[in-house]
Symmetry: C2
Subunit: 455 residues, 2 copies
């Protein structure tokens, strides 16, 4: 018998896992429910597998950059099957480490589906058995699911979602990617490095459509120079597996592109429809299940005692945002937090070629900005990879946003987050001694650059 | 005719160049004296050329790491002559850009040697001509020179200093490096990647002797695994070019190592002895010219109106420290600074394999520390490069120092500097949302790790 408050967490992705750990650390009696693998989309079909494939193909990128300038010759042939085997091993080791950590902290891990919620009780089904787990607080960390539309959805043959594409044991000779967000761009980079002929399309008028338009220009330039057929601003009519088992993309104008495989990576849909949830008072952003993100108050509750963290609340679909929310929700449930959830700025990074980093405001016309190009950075020069820039958005003389695109831009993410969180002044940037030489010096040059008004 | 105050700056390395720019920006009438190339040792024979060679050989490192795990096969052959040609071009472009920038700001650039100083006047000689340049303030940015000892000094044949080694157009088959500081370690990495058999010795009991002893252990482990014969704690008896034109290293015990070439990189000596300087009131740290660093007060003055910045004052022999001092001195001369020079913490990075970063205090026995290993970092895992750790030194519950060794450790330098400068608490680290996945997450894990007392 324990008298601790009972916390049930649903979903063991970044948000749910961290919530469970934080709940246990706060002395709650924690049950964590997961139907699949620990780690969620991030660990299993997102951030982490893409990083493995990007790292495993980096030697190709380095050699190509050097060879283009006639500074090196040779060949690099990644063994994709071996890379996948290693990835599986590492993921399995991570799953084991996570399970051991949960156990050590006394978290009960239940494998099963959340099939219904009632006030104070979660119904979990696994195979034929059903369990009702009582709770004082419930944290929903339900994640999200890949978006799809009629005519543009995976068919399990040549037209695929992100998960199977990250498990390829041989690179397709040709590949169509629909969607030029973070996932589409990173996977385009990976398979391009592996020798695949990549066609990348997006209905949005530019690549990386969520970022600064000038970032999109650099992305397009770098990808096209590399030989990727990147086409923003085209509408997909249909994407199907044809009679030869290949992917056939038909664009709105009638043009077709046929490739060995195709990936659909056009964003995420909500995955929040659980029987009983609405009756408990949960608030949904939309009647359409695809957009039915759980609306949360300023303490991340969607109903009294029911929290929604991570993708499922639709706030910021990033693993580290989910983690931060999960920790807060668990601590709030334990009575250790009383103020509203206020995480400060959330950085976002893209790790393909080129890398992108952004935190805080994106420059809008009329904003005061300052910037610097990577072309003058000795590290970028040394790597023969000088496209791109860093840009700072200023509000009232303080840093409100930082964006960078180019060599190693993702490595600036934490530093830029500090500067935005603390709303740095120019004088603060001037007073800090940056290590020389470093990519961060381009951020320094941007911070100290001429202030101008964005047209 | 101008009525501006006259500032003379001697030496166009990082400290002198930035002093000249800051002086001009402050409205001073600036003359910059340089006997050689703009950019000093950093640009011409130090930080920048090593970064070019490290970047140009990175594909080898990436491939080797992948191949060791049987994840890739192939060969990468850098064309060192082409790399050097490109480096020369980039340096020339940088020299031109610097000269243009000086000209634009109205700085007069004089090529020549500082041959004497008198109160209010600097004597500069070039070829047969001598010019006396009057000043109201003088900033000495004299740099330093490579250290050498009897029996251990470059002879211009097989036993070399750093400058010619960075200009090799073909990698030697075998190479002895004396000195395991930043320069020795980086050059060992470079030529090892180029297929050279490298022997690295140092009289100090460990590699990277200025860093945390546990960093040294990782460096030794990584270098030895790679196949570098790294031997700290050995005394060099002599290092000479033998009758066959090869370098012969004789150790104190009598053992000899013969190699095609040898590098001596055993630190820096002062280069401060200028006729008249002492008479102007300049203070020297030692009578021995090798250790005669210019002693400076808390406004970087070594005599009234005579500032010493960068290596020549012996404070911190790093380019970015020199830049920071140069800017301060010029602004102080212009009356724009009145308080003492207080730059905050100065980061230091090593960019070989493994990378090292350190800022602030190094852990001493009895200190409170917390730490995390890179082995759990997904980015390090993806790169098959997981040796090393990040360590935080705490004083009174605040960050007093950060050290990291391992994959991409140098990219954490600026962030770590901010944390040390602001003396972060654990709560601040907890509140910041770090991008996931990232190398910085190992720093976060170190910041949030278990506090313990260093044995």
């Amino acid at each position: 018998m324990t008298s601790s408050k009972r916390l049930v967490v649903v979903g063991a992705g970044p948000g749910g896992y961290e919530a469970a750990l934080a709940g246990a650390a706060a002395g709650l009696d924690v049950t964590l429910i997961e139907r699949g693998k620990l780690g969620g989309a991030c660990l299993n079909w997102g951030c982490i597998p893409t990083k493995h494939l990007l790292a495993a193909t980096l030697a190709v990128e380095c050699l190509t950059a050097q060879a283009k300038q006639k500074l090196a010759s040779g060949t690099v042939t990644p063994d994709l099957a071996a890379v996948q085997a290693k990835k599986k091993k590492l993921l399995a080791a991570t799953h084991n480490a996570m399970a051991a950590h949960l156990k050590k902290l006394g978290v009960r891990l239940v494998t099963g589906n959340l099939t219904a919620v009632a006030t104070g009780s979660a119904e979990v089904s696994s195979g034929g058995s059903v369990e009702h787990i009582p709770f004082d607080s419930l944290i929903l960390a339900l994640g999200s699911r890949p978006a799809a539309f009629p005519g543009v959805k995976p068919d399990g043959k040549a037209v695929l979602g992100v998960a199977p594409v990250l498990d390829f044991e041989a690179a397709p000779a040709s590949f169509v990617i629909v969607g030029a967000g973070a996932i589409g761009l990173e996977i385009a980079t990976i398979y391009h490095r592996l020798g695949t002929k990549v066609t990348l399309v997006d209905a949005a008028p530019r690549l990386a459509p969520a970022e600064d338009p000038d970032v999109s220009k650099v992305v397009a330039q770098v990808m096209r120079r590399a030989g990727i057929d990147a086409r923003p601003g085209v509408k997909v009519e249909s994407l199907v597996t044809d009679e030869n088992g290949r992917a056939r993309l038909t664009l709105a104008g009638g043009e077709t592109v046929v490739a060995d495989k195709a990936l659909i990576a056009i964003g995420r849909f909500a995955a929040t429809i659980v029987p009983g949830l609405a009756e408990c008072g949960a608030m949904f952003a939309d009647d359409n299940p695809n957009r039915a993100w759980l609306r949360t108050d300023d303490t991340l509750q969607t109903a009294p005692g029911i929290y929604a963290v991570g993708d499922c609340n639709g706030r910021v679909l990033l693993a580290h945002a989910a983690e931060s929310q999960g920790v807060y929700a668990a601590r709030h449930a334990a009575g250790l937090e009383s103020g509203p959830y206020a995480p400060g700025p959330i950085p976002g990074c893209y790790y393909g070629s080129p890398e992108i980093m952004r935190v805080g405001a994106i420059a809008a016309p009329g904003d005061t900005i300052s910037e610097a190009a990577f072309v003058a950075n000795p590290i970028a020069q040394a790597h023969a990879d000088t496209a791109g820039f860093a840009r700072v958005v200023w509000k009232d003389g303080k840093v409100a946003g930082i964006t960078a695109v180019g060599h190693g831009a993702s490595t600036m993410g934490t530093l830029a987050t500090v500067m935005v969180a603390q709303a740095w002044t120019r004088e603060q940037a001037q007073a800090l001694v940056f290590p020389h030489p470093g990519l961060d010096e381009t951020l320094k040059a941007a911070l100290l650059g001429e202030m101008k008004v964005k047209a």
